[in-house]
Amino acid sequence: MPTLRMRMPVFVLSGILFAACNGESDAPLVASDVVISEPPPGRAMSAGYLTLRNNTDDVIRISGVDSPQFGFVEIHETRLDDGVASMILVPELLIPAKSSVSLQPGGKHLMLMRPIGTPQNISLSFYDDDILLLNLQAAMTRRDN
């Protein structure tokens, strides 16, 4: 199962085209509250936060995310165990039917690594294997949580 995607063409293998922009609130998978935080000076990694809403009657699985502005994108999770913070790779994100999952500071989040240049406007694509689920665009913003 691919969890790390380099830039590649999108192959839609399913008969159902899930892909939707984040403005279409009745789409099968909808993103909201998207924040791509700019990295502090001298750092290259950005963190991404958003809420994903599954409007379908089935579980939606996200197994990969990519962006033309970054070498690779992964879903990670910050965990706190006995006061110690650690970060783990999330190989797949499951969004239950008719439910939302939030990626937020201190929890699950997107890790955007190896930026190409100094991107300001970010495109993100979410996949279940090779099935494109969602495209979205967001501006890189200063962290202010």
């Binding site: 001298g42 963190a47 990670h76 989040h109 949580n145």
Partner: protein, 203 residues
């Protein structure tokens, strides 16, 4: 006593009791809701690290002001910048509403291998003026963190992309240079805004 007088007496008695209760509540010192105050504030150990300008950082550096000390690293994309932004927001709110001398924000790197003074300087400046970025030799860092019960561990990985697990608490150091309180993660601006004035007024 007539029934009318009895009712008046009951009403007056109730009002008096309520007044006494409210007065007692108002006279109670404010209580900490989130921070753990160290019963006997603990002097910092002997150590020598460096700030973002290459100046020595020792226990004496922590004398003369309140400090909010977080242990993290600049390559940490989530909890470290999140925590520093929370501290920066709390500091701004405290300066606006409560305190003229709000605490200094201190980031101590648990990744001295990669966090050079220059990098630390650019990183902490991003979260406001007057912040202190501390890095240095691993053995000196370990001397400092062990004495304070701070844990960190470099996690094995390929190449430069390793991560560091680390304690996520924010330690409060009083102007006498003593570790005096601790905020446990997860952090929230409101926790600091509520409890820091109490800690600082009790010193």
């Amino acid at each position: 006593m007539s029934a009318r007088n009895l009712i008046i007496a009951i009403i007056l008695g109730s009002a008096l009791a309520a007044g006494i209760f409210v007065a007692a509540r108002l006279n109670q010192p404010a209580q900490l809701q989130h921070a753990f105050a160290v019963p006997a504030p603990q002097p910092l150990p002997a150590f020598t690290l460096a700030d973002q300008n290459g100046n020595a950082v020792t226990a004496d550096t922590f004398r003369g002001q309140w400090d909010m000390v977080f242990f993290g690293f600049t390559n940490c994309p989530d909890i470290c910048p999140t925590t520093l932004q929370i501290l920066a927001n709390a500091k701004r709110e405290l300066m606006d509403t409560h305190l003229q001398d709000s605490p200094r924000i201190v980031l101590v790197s648990v990744d001295p291998e990669r966090d050079t003074p220059d990098l630390m300087g650019r990183y902490v400046d991003y979260f406001g003026d007057g912040n202190l970025g501390v890095s240095g030799e691993l053995d000196e860092l370990t001397r400092f963190t062990k004495a304070l019960g701070i844990y960190f561990e470099k996690m094995p990985a390929d190449g430069e992309s390793y991560s560091v697990n680390h304690s996520a608490a924010v330690l409060i150091v009083n102007p006498q240079g003593e570790f005096s309180a601790l905020f446990s993660a997860p952090h929230d601006v409101a926790n600091f805004v509520h409890d820091l004035p109490i800690l600082m007024s009790a010193d």
